[in-house]
């Protein structure tokens, strides 16, 4: 018999965490703009600008759609990215992450991306199509070093589950403290830069070339949905990085410290994802943009080469 009370409790907790995730995502939007502005020696918008933007866009009276395929973008992007968030261990707390593993997360990440791409394609704007082409190619580019590092980690920890990898790093045995995965973290951080679409890899959006690319035809609530997707995307991607290399931000064991551990771990997790995002922002603020084939060459030649060294390292490790 299904325990409805426990199920309801679990759903409530998940709803709370999803709300928290979106709140952090919106905060990150304003944070990013403020930081970039300060580096550029501007004043910049207030730090809560993300909240204002989203509420404004969802409050618009006129919303223009180009048909039902166009609407899929808004639906799939929000649904998909929320689902990915549910499958991630957040600060060591697992919502659904025991029901799926890292491969599932990698493939679930494609749902919002493809849904977004469907809507952008359906708008019929050539800029959107070019933007999607660039986005997919950037994805192909950064995925190679990323999956190489991930495969190395899976073989090293002998699990494919992200929750398992986080658990293996408990008691401060963070992966980044191992020399091989310190290099791995650098490789993956490069990939993260492409994943977050920050400069020098903001080729898909490229506001000066293709007028924000995929987003060009979206307005009102559709744009609001896509903004939410992008904000949550930042939380998801940085959390993925933190889970892989920084032990998911777990520093106190729940069994020992009870609810205090949850609070502390959540704070540490928040601090770590903010730090990871902050690093990406620093790179973003000072670099110009790559061309698409330059990005592909950067990832497949240099980043993947270092990742190959990591694979060889792990190969030697398992062979002996």
């Amino acid at each position: 018999m299904v325990d409805f009370f426990a199920l309801g409790e679990q759903i409530l907790v998940m709803a709370f965490l999803v709300t928290l995730g979106y709140a952090i995502g919106m905060f990150f939007n304003g944070f990013a703009r403020k930081i970039t502005a300060r580096i550029h020696n501007r004043v910049g918008p207030p730090i809560y600008q993300g909240y204002i933007d989203v509420f404004k866009l969802f409050g618009k009276k006129t919303n223009i759609s180009h048909g039902w395929i166009f609407d899929l973008a808004a639906l799939f992007s929000i649904a998909g990215i929320t689902l990915v968030f549910l499958f991630l261990p957040v600060a060591g707390f697992s919502m659904l992450s025991t029901d799926g593993d890292l491969f599932l997360i990698l493939y679930l990440l494609a749902i919002p991306a493809l849904g977004f791409a469907l809507g952008a394609g359906a708008s019929g704007n050539p800029n959107a199509a070019v933007g999607i082409m660039r986005a997919l190619m950037t994805m192909l580019a950064y995925e190679l070093p990323l999956v190489m590092v991930i495969v190395a980690m899976m073989v090293h920890y002998n699990t494919t589950s992200l929750a398992g990898i986080v658990a293996a790093q408990s008691n401060m045995h963070w992966a980044i403290f191992l020399p091989v995965f310190l290099i791995g973290a650098i490789v993956a951080d490069m990939a993260l830069q492409g994943m977050l679409m920050e400069k020098p890899f903001d080729i898909p959006i490229a506001p000066h070339e293709i007028a924000t690319g995929p987003m060009v035809e979206f307005g009102g609530k559709h744009l609001g949905a896509l903004m939410l997707y992008k904000m949550m995307g930042i939380v998801v991607e940085t959390t993925l990085f933190v889970d892989l290399f920084l032990g998911g931000g777990v520093i106190l064991s729940v069994a020992q410290y009870g609810w205090l551990a949850y609070v502390v771990n959540f704070l540490v997790w928040f601090g770590l994802i903010t730090f990871v995002f902050f690093l990406a922002l620093l790179i973003n603020a000072v670099f110009p943009r790559f061309r698409i084939e330059q990005a592909l060459k950067f990832y497949w030649k240099y980043d993947a080469l270092v990742a190959l060294l990591i694979l060889i390292w792990i190969f030697v490790e398992v062979s002996t």
């Binding site: 919303n63 180009h66 082409m133 494919t160």
Partner: protein, 617 residues
């Protein structure tokens, strides 16, 4: 009983030739006859430990027997492995026939006759109990395909199919001969191969022969031509269905005939035989290169052909690794590929049927015009790319898990990146054909074609919800090879490394979609015509002839990067083989001088060598 089915298929094939003038009638009859193999599969389900409702068991085939045909005998038997592959082919076949009724016009009788003959061949291959029966039906199948490829009137396709088909048959035949020499029996069940080097050569030849049909690189050269120049229903069956026969053959000979122990006796690498490991590496290379080549195609059929080659590579990976996990994954991938690739080829055919265009850059905007075709292909593309909204993910997941379980550090990233590459060409199909600027005012595809496509989409949804059912079907096969089935329930598959709970994914998607819907429905929206975008409803007249559809050379930067590495493709390799053959042939021809004294000398030399050898022995 089974011979009656074969006879009906054969008889109907002849009847089709007589009905050449009446394509609709011929098609309808062929469709109903094509249901027979499917009913046969259902009636054997009980034997495989799979319970189906009794009203589905119409034919009541319980036992198999030997049939004497003249001097020899035809030995047929159903095995779990055969049943699984027959299930795939026999469920695809009627849908392809249903689709053909509205698609095939020209010389329809010949088409249906050849199609029925391919099914006859397939039936025999899968049920064969010995090598002779196997080869006989293999040739029936191969030559019927040739008849269907001929209908495309493309010289390259015909010649390459003929060349590679013959090569495949020769390799298989030589392999069979060596095995017969070694074991003195034709029956699969009685063959106990010794771990000799000769048998290794024989097995390699057989696997290489089957790799031609399974379109593994570098034996794939015929496939892009044949897939892209024949009629779509046939291509759907060729790519979705008949290519699996290559993998069926590989599996039969690698695991049923030779067995794990024998393969391992030629050396192992992390408990995987070198034989299997090489197959896995070839499969991974095929998956990667096929994907890259698919991204570069502009012809819709060529793109699908290369994508098919890439996806088939995954099956080879699973078969090569050969753990229970990997074999289940390979079978699952075979199942998915059968249905999603068939749907995609059929959808491409439906698009052609309405627009008369094959080039992706010339199509566009059909999504709103042909919504049901679009949705069917969307599902198929989700399955192809492995998005967890369809069953496509479970197969890929099993294969990745199997590779990680064996700590394959270099094969796994290649598999994963090939999976990412699949998103690229998948979106090229979606955008180029169905999205973007509407350029054709066409109707939805005919009902028959839609029904065929949507029925083929069903398995992709069913096995999303019940991935464990495939593990159930794989269990008797694994049991035959002396392996345990992977731990599973209908919804959850567990491995030593991770868990895949499909219910969590499904309820997660439903829940999050509801959340998105609530956010989305908060405010009303108005739908505006397509031109009302940044052009403000007034497309500049100057540009009227210029398309706003950006599909021409869609992945141009990608091509610039990758084309130099793929320019000298597999065809160059085979040209080298051809050149070597020419030199050898020219040399051999010099023996025939046309002078009697030379020939006398040869005979004399022959006897001297013979006597000398006899004396020295």
């Amino acid at each position: 009983m089974i011979v009656e089915v074969l006879a009906i298929l054969l008889g109907t094939a002849f009847l089709m030739l007589a009905l050449n003038k009446f394509p609709k009638i011929a098609g309808t009859i062929a469709f109903f006859v094509s249901l027979l193999p499917f009913l046969a599969v259902l009636s054997w389900a009980g034997q495989m430990g799979i319970n189906i409702p009794s009203y589905l068991n119409l034919l009541h085939f319980e036992s198999m027997a030997t049939y004497n045909l003249g001097a020899g005998s035809l030995l047929l038997e159903i095995t779990p492995l055969g049943w699984f592959f027959l299930l795939l082919l026999a469920s695809l076949f009627p849908m392809v026939m249903l689709y053909s009724v509205s698609f095939v016009r020209e010389n329809a009788g010949g088409f249906y006759a050849a199609m029925l003959m391919t099914m006859l061949g397939t039936f025999g291959i899968i049920l064969a109990k010995d090598m002779l029966t196997f080869f006989l039906f293999w040739e029936i199948m191969s030559w019927s395909i040739f008849a269907l490829v001929l209908r495309g009137h493309d010289r390259r396709a015909i010649v390459s199919y003929l060349a590679f088909g013959s090569m495949s048959a020769m390799l298989i035949l030589f392999g069979f001969m060596i095995l017969y020499y070694d074991t003195d029996t034709l029956l699969f069940a009685h063959m106990h191969l010794a771990p000799t080097r000769l048998n290794l050569v024989a097995l390699s030849m057989i696997v290489a022969g089957f790799a031609v049909k399974g379109a593994l690189m570098p034996m794939h050269v015929w496939a892009p031509h044949a897939y892209s120049k024949s009629e779509e229903p046939f291509v759907a069956f060729l790519s979705g269905g008949l290519s699996k026969l290559g993998y069926f053959g590989m599996m039969l000979f690698m695991y049923s005939v030779a067995g794990m122990g024998l393969l391992a006796s030629w050396g192992t690498f992390r408990d995987v035989s070198w034989f299997g490991y090489s197959l896995a590496v070839v499969g991974a290379f095929t998956a990667f290169a096929g994907t890259i080549l698919a991204v570069m195609q502009d012809d819709l059929r060529k793109l699908l052909a290369y994508s098919s080659i890439g996806q088939l590579g995954y099956i080879a990976i699973g078969m090569g690794i050969g753990t229970p996990l990997a074999i289940t994954g390979a079978l699952f991938q075979a199942l998915n590929h059968t249905f999603f690739k068939a749907v995609l080829f059929l959808a491409a055919g439906a698009v052609y049927y309405r627009t008369g265009k094959w080039k992706i850059s010339e199509l566009g905007g059909l999504g709103y015009r042909m919504p049901f075709t679009f949705l069917a292909s969307l599902f198929a593309i989700f399955a192809l790319a492995g998005i967890p909204i369809t069953s496509g993910f479970a197969a890929k997941w099993l294969l990745y898990e199997a590779a990680i379980e064996k700590k394959f550090l270099f094969v796994t990233p290649i598999m994963l990146i090939a999976g990412v590459g699949a998103f690229l060409y998948a979106y090229k199909i979606l955008y180029g054909v169905f999205l973007g600027e509407p350029r054709y005012d066409v109707k939805e595809a005919p009902l028959g074609q839609l029904v065929a496509m949507w029925i083929l989409v069903l398995p992709l949804v069913i096995f999303l919800v019940f991935p464990g059912w495939v593990a159930d079907m794989a269990a008797p096969i694994l049991k035959e090879y002396g392996m345990q089935a992977i731990p599973h329930t209908p919804f959850v598959i567990t491995t030593s490394l991770g868990v895949y709970n499909t219910l969590a994914v499904i309820f997660g998607i439903i829940g999050t979609l509801l959340l998105a819907l609530v956010l989305y429905k908060w405010k009303p929206q108005e739908v505006v015509p397509h031109e009302d975008n940044y052009l403000a409803g007034e497309p500049p007249e100057l540009y009227e002839n210029i398309s706003m559809h950006a599909a021409y050379k869609y992945y141009e930067p990608f091509e610039e990067v990758f084309l130099p590495y793929f320019r000298s493709g597999a065809e160059k390799l085979w040209e080298v083989v051809l050149y070597a053959g020419e030199i050898l042939g020219t040399g051999a021809r010099k023996i025939y001088t046309g002078m009697v004294e030379d020939y006398t000398m040869y005979i004399l030399l022959f006897f001297i060598i013979l006597i000398g050898w006899w004396l020295l022995w």
